[in-house]
């Protein structure tokens, strides 16, 4: 999850980070040294805590090599010690990006300083895209945030819309090996246009659309993303012509964080 690279973000927000796996102290010590890990890597040999929590991966039989791993996931814990949010994955190879955890679970804006970023001016808006990770790592899902920052007084439509109107759309394409999932749009609010018997759903301000992407090839240096953002900016009375803004973003392929071969 590349927590170490993002540890500052958590520390600044007053969040302590703990990572737990079934590895021995020796394995964790070697890993911590190799990657300069500064937060606690905790050894749950025998998976005692995982079993107490009830998150032992039950898809793996006791006679299989990887028995004892958990369903991968994270708990966000509040100051009072209660779970405030949790995210878990059913499949053990899927890992969320550290920055998306920070944003989704703690509402902390991540520092996008070193992340792949691109922006362009559109009609009545600025359109940008940033990956919530510094790279795409094999089989790791990372969110691409596409933002339409609208000028004051303007809004865009969220689909579905009647014929003749343009719903906001984001399309991301790339080479074979890129998997793009359905975009998630922010909440919209109802809006009526005089003389039209339809209640529109509109979004204004900074419209942030999250597109989960992942890289499924165990090779490559760079993934070129073509991002097409189609929208129509309107105020209360009239609309600009619909625009399609095209963004190009080269995303580096990160090194797999596990350099050693899997055990036989």
């Amino acid at each position: 999850m590349q927590l170490q690279q993002n540890l500052d973000g958590f520390t600044k927000a007053g969040i302590r980070v703990f990572a737990i796996s079934y590895d021995s102290v020796e394995v964790l010590a070697a890993f911590a040294e190799e990657f300069s890990i500064a937060f606690p890597l905790l050894s749950d040999q025998g998976s005692v805590v995982m079993q107490r929590f009830g998150i032992l991966n039950t898809l793996i039989r006791p006679d299989e090599d990887y028995y004892g791993i958990p369903f991968p996931g994270v708990y966000a814990v509040g100051e009072d010690g209660a779970v405030t949010e949790k995210v878990f994955y059913r499949y053990y190879r899927v890992r969320p990006s550290a920055q998306s955890v920070l944003k989704d679970l703690f509402d902390v804006e991540f520092d996008t300083g070193g992340d792949p970023y691109v922006e362009a001016a559109g009609e009545g808006a600025r359109v940008s895209a940033v990956l919530a990770a510094d790279s795409l790592v094999f089989m790791q899902r990372a969110p691409l945030y596409v933002r339409i920052t609208l000028d004051a007084g303007l809004h865009v439509y969220r689909g579905p819309v009647p014929e003749g109107f343009v719903a906001t759309e984001v399309t991301v394409t790339g080479p074979e090996g890129l998997v793009v999932e359905a975009p998630a749009f922010p909440d919209a609010h109802p809006f009526r246009v005089e003389g039209i018997p339809h209640t529109f759903q509109v979004m204004d301000g900074t419209v942030e659309i999250e597109v989960p992407i992942s890289w499924t090839l165990n090779e490559g240096e760079t993934v070129p993303l073509e991002i097409m953002v189609r929208y129509q900016a309107c105020d209360d009375h009239q609309c600009f012509v619909p625009r399609t803004v095209e963004l190009h973003l080269d995303v580096p392929v990160g090194r797999l964080y596990r350099p050693r071969p899997r055990p036989q």
Partner: protein, 69 residues
């Protein structure tokens, strides 16, 4: 690097079976419940108690498969 072509074929990304979108697999303590306390050895061989180490701060507790593979 291996020359085995199958190693370089695209892998199938599993469906985004994720809690909270699905409750189809166990995910432990629920939102709103206290996270049970635990004490485990860290990478330096020192015992770390969660509650004591957290010291009233917020925390992110990550369960991951292994540091080795």
């Amino acid at each position: 690097m291996t020359s085995d072509a199958s190693q370089n074929a695209p892998q199938e990304m599993p469906p985004n079976l994720r809690f909270p979108e699905t409750g189809a697999f166990p995910t432990g303590p629920e939102v709103g419940e206290a996270l049970p306390d635990f004490t485990l050895m860290d990478q330096h061989g020192r015992p770390v108690n969660f509650a004591g180490s957290r010291g009233g701060q917020r925390a992110l507790v990550v369960f991951h498969r292994s540091a080795r593979w």
